[in-house]
Symmetry: C2
Subunit: 585 residues, 2 copies
């Protein structure tokens, strides 16, 4: 292939096939950059040396497909091109065959192309010719290969689970597939192989994995696609440390082999509660400070009810110190920050700036005692030039607001971050979240997540305090994977259903076949799933999930290249026993 | 694991986890067969040596999950069990922990189980505990690993193509997925990644593969599932021999590494026309003879219009000689054979038996001249005891009837076949089949299959004579894979559409995005897809596709374990803008 030719091949006759990246006619000599998957090779057609080839070369255009042969020669030194691998070589052409011509492409096949994304997605087959996305896909393929070889060597069996599954009533929205043979019934495309992989453990398969498409019919955010890929695995006869160990070795191997990056092992672990207290997030970006701190003890008796009120109602007052940024934010900027935290449910955002001269600027200090203000600034370790942002509310709102504000400010102010990747296991998640609307506990992961042994006795008395054997792998503030040990005891499972308020009938309806399986001898088991798309995004350093998927969809679930979804015939719908009753405009 | 323990471990203390396969209480001593994925280990609990363990052992039942530790010791010689790998060893127990109890399983976890398939599918998690299906899945995983490693080493890139695709108007019936965001529109689950893999070649990916689920909403036959798995690949800058070469090396590697079977390479090739003439099938089972032979030249002028008529109308009279089977078939058996060929469209089945004494028995010889009868028997090389079966009809009916009759008789009479695997490439398929109903040509593979270079000039004048660069890999009469070189020239593509009678608009509607892609520089390309399920069926020697799939569906598209498909809520349908108008009883 083009880029596989080296100086060792000088003087050799070679045959290459590829696309015309560029053609320069210098009058009597035509230089062509021929591109294949590997890279570029320069071809030379000289009218004096080979008239026939030269005449062919005169008529080719960009993106024509050629098959050429010739001799590998050294370029003149002034023509060396350090930007391409074969930059010191060129091919003196003997033959040139045009395998296919090409219309003028509507986008420029080069990294400098600035066509809008819609055009690029419509002409995805051309966009994929560019180095960046092509190399992303190569990285993706290599990563899958490394993952599979590692898991094979660790005794994991790759086992396929069904795509035409049972619709699940919990969790995100399913994509449904009407059954023609059993009219009126529907398959659900899997949101994950969760139940099936647990069934495989019940079946004695011991260790399972699969790199598998999963489906969620959600409204799309920047980093979501309706179909996405998981590295999904499950192990029997294990506890938390066993699952963490094998996955730590897996990611270490991937990052080393794919981008030659050494992950420090063992990877740091942080309890969920610490992650929330310090970073206001269960996926903290630990590459920089600006950590949250709690002011509740200082302010619980203060006269300013905006602070004291939430504390009395079980909430808290917490803050972050944006070091040295007192002057960075104008009043208008700060108003924007107030609006920003409101999107996370906060009623407001208090702030205290310490001017460079040590004086204090704030709209709230008038409501506080001097001691209280000093206490806040002491705890913030505030120095001249700092600005402290404070939120008082229910804990969830405080964490969400400040956790996100921290990231927002870091981005705005281009705060310096650690280089490389900060890996972190977040562990010991709560088993349950209390749903204020439904006035009941809900499972934070799913109802099969095992409680921590030491919290088992609180399952009935203080369910809100029970922690789960659940763990997420977080990298630079991105959740790359997560999982848990599952319940394998019928007794514990029943208690968890009681906390969730499920009747036997409900449990049976929702999870019938797994519950049935659990009755026939279940090994302790647990597992994890990585988001492959996110893993590749980290490896190739992009924030656009569409850069790592060959044929992605837009935010409204459309493939601009193939024009899916599309209208189908009445006959097809009739065969399925369904009718369209509501159509998009 | 259980079966990993060898005599080298004698005297060692080991810990094992698994399921109770069997428990024998000999009074004071309890023997337990502990089973894990690897196999069986015998445990011994002796009341005198360890009272606590013995008491635990007294209360366990089949399929309980245990964690045990103890010392590896040699069994008494009279207790050696040659049927299990660890048959000379046992574990003298120090500890035994019951990790989970188990209800009495509704099926027997042993190869001797004879529960009906419906019960086994309902309790699939128990059925999977049996050696046979478990080992099939292990073989399947190993096969995928061998395939991937081979294709990786050959420069193929694993690239994922979408599951939520555009419904395709040609071919088998699509499964449809209603879009919620674009109400009234539908995705189609892919019948194969055909168009996308061609697009990837247009994109310059050079070599692609994927082990991928495909979907066809057909009524199920014995060896079909609504979702099945393909090893799908495509290559650029290749012709037929290149594709055949790499795939030949692939299957050779798979059969060697998985079952230590040497495939003779190069694999024999046979033109489609020869396969039909000799075996009446494009997937001939070449492990035995009983080949078809043509009698048309002998009988074209005979007075028996049942023979002469079809020949005059462009059909033929062909026959097979069931050697030595004249006495094997009773008159009733022969009547059943007549009924059998009628299912393939034949109007009847003529026969001539040569008795052991050389006399002839037949109902048709009275309509033939002596010369004609002798001619038939000569051509059949008929000897005493043989019976010749004759079909006269349109060629398609003659081939179908005799091709299938040949297999049917071979099975009934248990004809001796070659041992092992007869691999065969069937090549040079016709481009087009004439559809008598629609009075037009249809593509035999798909409209992007390339014609053979030497037949190009017949594309417009004699389309029925044009052969395609298409090839199937047939093993013991089973089509294990197939593919073709694709058209990469717009001009040829247009001619093919003309033959098929597509208007520009139709072509655009049916294949729009591929046609568009083909305009921007397309490399010559081709590929192949293997049926993974069928490959595994051959490797593990089963005729039941459900034996090689972890969670298969029944003939009416139902998963008996999870009870998919199922009814969904009105709210879900409303969100999708559809309504059920026809329900199963």
């Amino acid at each position: 292939m083009c880029a596989e030719i080296t100086k060792e091949d000088l003087g050799k006759k070679v045959t290459l096939s590829g696309w015309v990246q560029r053609r320069r006619d210098l009058g009597g000599v035509i230089f062509i950059h021929l591109r294949d998957r590997s890279g570029i090779m320069q071809l030379v057609a000289n009218s004096e040396l080979n008239k026939e080839v030269f005449e062919t070369a005169e008529n080719i255009r960009n993106e024509y497909v050629l098959k050429v042969s010739g001799e590998v020669v050294l370029r003149d030194e002034e023509n060396f091109n350090p930007n391409i691998e074969t930059g010191e070589l060129e091919l003196k052409l003997d033959t040139m065959e045009v395998l296919d011509s090409a219309n003028t492409p509507p986008i420029y096949i080069d990294e400098s192309d600035n066509a809008n994304e819609a055009t690029r997605l419509e002409y995805r087959f051309l966009d994929l010719r560019k180095d960046k996305i092509k190399n992303n896909l190569i990285t993706r393929a290599k990563t899958c290969s490394v993952v599979r070889n590692f898991l094979d060597s660790e005794g994991f069996l790759e086992i396929e689970t069904p795509f035409l599954g049972k619709p699940t009533p919990e969790g995100a929205r399913d994509f449904l597939v009407p059954s023609r043979i059993r009219k009126g019934k529907f398959f659900g495309l899997p949101q994950s192989p969760q139940l099936f992989k647990q069934i495989l453990m019940v079946s004695g398969m011991d260790r399972y994995y699969q790199i598998v498409k999963c489906f969620r019919d959600e409204d799309l955010r920047q980093d979501r696609q309706p179909e996405f890929t998981q590295i999904d695995l499950e192990m029997s006869f294990v506890d938390v440390d066993d699952v963490i160990d094998v996955n730590e070795r897996l990611v270490k191997k991937v990052f080393k082999e794919i981008i030659d990056y050494d992950i420090e092992a063992p990877i740091m672990r942080m309890e969920f509660s610490e992650a929330m207290d310090r970073f206001g997030s269960d996926k903290p970006d630990t590459r920089f400070g600006m950590e949250l701190f709690d002011l509740s003890d200082l302010l619980k008796d203060c006269k300013f009810n905006v602070f004291a009120g939430p504390i009395k109602n079980g909430g808290s007052v917490r803050a972050i110190n944006a070091k040295g940024l007192a002057d960075f934010f104008s009043r208008r900027d700060i108003d924007a920050l107030v609006d920003y935290v409101k999107t996370y449910g906060a009623k407001g955002l208090a702030w205290i700036a310490v001017n460079e001269d040590g004086s204090i600027k704030s709209q709230i200090t008038k409501f506080l005692s001097e001691e209280e203000t000093k206490g806040i600034l002491d705890r913030a370790k505030a120095e001249n030039g700092d600005i402290v942002f404070i939120v008082a509310d229910k804990n969830k709102v405080v964490y969400d607001s400040l956790g996100n504000l921290r990231l927002h400010i870091a981005k705005k102010a281009e705060i310096k971050m650690d280089e490389g990747f900060n890996f972190l296991w977040v562990t010991n998640f709560p088993m349950f979240e209390y749903d204020e609307n439904e006035k009941r506990y809900k499972a934070m992961h799913h109802p099969f997540t095992a409680p921590m042994d030491e919290d088992l006795d609180k399952l009935e008395s203080e369910p809100g305090e029970v922690r789960a054997k659940a763990y997420d792998l977080v990298v630079n503030g991105v959740e790359m994977g997560g999982g848990s040990i599952r319940i394998h005891s019928g007794e514990v499972q029943q208690k968890v259903f009681n906390v969730l308020g499920f009747s036997d009938e409900e449990a049976e309806n929702k999870f019938g076949f797994l519950l049935k399986a659990l009755k026939y001898g279940t090994p302790p088991h647990g597992g994890l799933a990585f988001g492959l798309d996110r893993m590749i995004m980290l490896l190739v350093d992009t924030e656009n999930i569409r850069d790592v998927i060959a044929f992605p969809k837009t935010q409204n679930h459309t493939c601009l290249m193939s024009d899916a979804p599309s209208i189908v015939s009445e006959e097809q719908l009739e065969e399925l026993g369904i009718e369209v009753v509501d159509e998009e405009e």
